[in-house]
């Protein structure tokens, strides 16, 4: 690995100024499970790594019923799924946090890192999009917020400007009668990269039969994780029936624009998007009924 400068930030301001000094030559270190691999093979060659694991805001994990979940960008996956309140309140997020890598990876890897790494196949991103999560970004000109679906701009590329740091992710408190679910297809049980993945969320009305709104996002079927607005809109106001779910699945399949590669073919991935959209919608509806 090419040598670089290691800096350990203690505050958000310090992280921002350490990043801003080096511009595009600086990169954040959270769990390191992507960036260290990329640096070792020469795919990324930052001159400086800024560790944010000692920044309190980036290591946060707190939930309250008014503001929702405050998830630090560097908070490792295991802390998310070990937290009983978070597990109960955001099962759609837990689906992803407990399937990324193995136990060793989950001891380090963060959902914020998964987001900034911007892999098309990232398991952590579709559930965030489905849950309407917001990025909280600190930079030289202050703090800004951005919907998660706008964060990834190309494979491995994110919307952060030089000097900006993803500090945390805010997930709104779940609405009444809502549920979310994430599933991916891999050819084995664990430790693999999604051939396709779908995250869905639904809000049901008081009778728990009609869908008020829904959000659906896809992994591994486009250059970035894909928010398919029209698939969710196809469900709004409809009874939670197989017919309505089928319409959403067709909209998701139509939006998917996968490539064929070593993991799967275009027709297989399109088919998987349909299957996983149906299954995650059923799963989300079940969770909404139990909520």
């Amino acid at each position: 690995m090419r040598d670089f400068e290691f800096k350990n930030a203690r505050t958000v301001d310090e992280a921002v100024s350490l990043m801003a000094e080096k511009g595009s030559q600086a990169r954040i270190l959270a769990g390191g499970t992507d960036v260290i691999v990329q640096m070792r093979v020469g795919r990324r060659t930052p001159e400086r790594l800024v560790d944010i694991k000692d920044v309190a805001e980036a290591n946060a994990l707190s939930h309250d019923s008014e503001r929702g979940l405050n998830l630090g960008a560097a908070t490792p996956c295991y802390r998310i799924y070990q937290d009983q309140t978070v597990s109960k309140t955001y099962p759609g997020l837990i689906d992803a946090a407990s399937m990324i890598g193995g136990i060793q990876i989950q001891g380090r890897a963060s959902i914020g890192g998964n987001l900034c790494n911007a892999a098309p196949s990232a398991d952590g991103i579709p559930p965030l999009i489905a849950l309407g999560a917001i990025c909280v970004i600190a930079g030289p000109n202050g703090t800004r917020e951005m919907p998660v679906e706008d964060m990834c701009t190309a494979p491995g590329q994110n919307a952060l400007q030089d000097g900006e740091v993803l500090v945390s992710i805010r997930i709104p408190p779940p609405q009444k009668n809502s549920g979310a679910h994430y599933l991916r297809f891999i050819p084995r049980n664990e430790m693999d990269i999604a051939v396709a993945g779908v995250g869905s969320s639904v809000v049901l009305d008081g009778d728990k039969k009609t869908i008020v709104s829904a959000r659906i996002a896809l992994a591994s079927v486009a250059p970035t994780p894909l928010y398919v607005r029209e698939a969710g809109e196809a469900l709004a106001g409809k009874e939670a029936s197989d017919g309505a779910i089928e319409q959403a699945a067709e909209a998701a399949m139509a939006a998917a624009r996968p490539i064929s590669d070593m993991r799967g073919t275009i027709p297989q991935r399109k088919h998987l998007v349909g299957v996983l959209t149906r299954r995650t919608l059923h799963g989300a509806i079940e969770r909404a009924k139990e909520a």
């Binding site: 290691f6 390191g32 060793q104 001891g107």
Partner: protein, 161 residues
């Protein structure tokens, strides 16, 4: 580029300090700087688990930790698993169940299994297989490893460590 960085840490219960470059992984530091060669380099990209160590009580792949990140942390490697009294029940069970062939993956499996059984000695086969999904073995076919871990769990429940 900056020179070497002084890192203070605790390894297998002993205060340890070392000098390393920012680019050196914890695995490289353990093996090449400190002589703890029990942790193995398999894939060097976080897939195989042969370099598994405990970092502040959580198992991690030490190839994906920077040496400088060990500052102020506590690390347990395979060298810290046995005690003066003898092998750890997990180590003993690996021997008795012939749960290894070439042995490269074994330190990682043992560190990972011990971490599970200390919290969950009752872990069933499904739980053990899931916990060890991040440890690859290309020799045994896994069944002997899983049997060894279940065996060790039984012993640890009934008075072992």
């Amino acid at each position: 580029m900056p020179g070497k960085i002084h890192v203070q840490t605790k390894i297998n219960g002993e205060e340890t300090d070392f000098l390393c470059e920012a680019r050196q992984s914890l695995l490289e530091v353990l093996r090449d700087v400190l002589g703890f060669t029990g942790s193995k380099e398999g894939c060097n990209d976080g897939n195989c688990g042969a370099c598994t160590v405990e970092l502040n009580g959580r198992i991690v792949t030490s190839c994906l930790v920077l040496g400088v990140e060990a500052e102020g942390k506590e690390i347990t490697t395979i060298e810290g698993v046995a005690s003066a009294d003898g092998l750890h029940p997990v180590q003993q069970a690996f021997l008795e169940n012939a749960a290894l062939q070439c042995g490269i993956c074994t330190p990682g499996f043992i560190v990972a299994s011990k971490a599970l059984l200390e919290k969950e000695p009752d872990a069933d086969e499904g739980r053990i297989r899931h916990w060890l999904a991040g440890n690859l073995c290309r020799c045994t076919g896994y069944d002997k490893i899983i049997r060894a871990v279940m065996d060790a769990g039984e012993k640890m429940k009934t008075g072992g460590r």
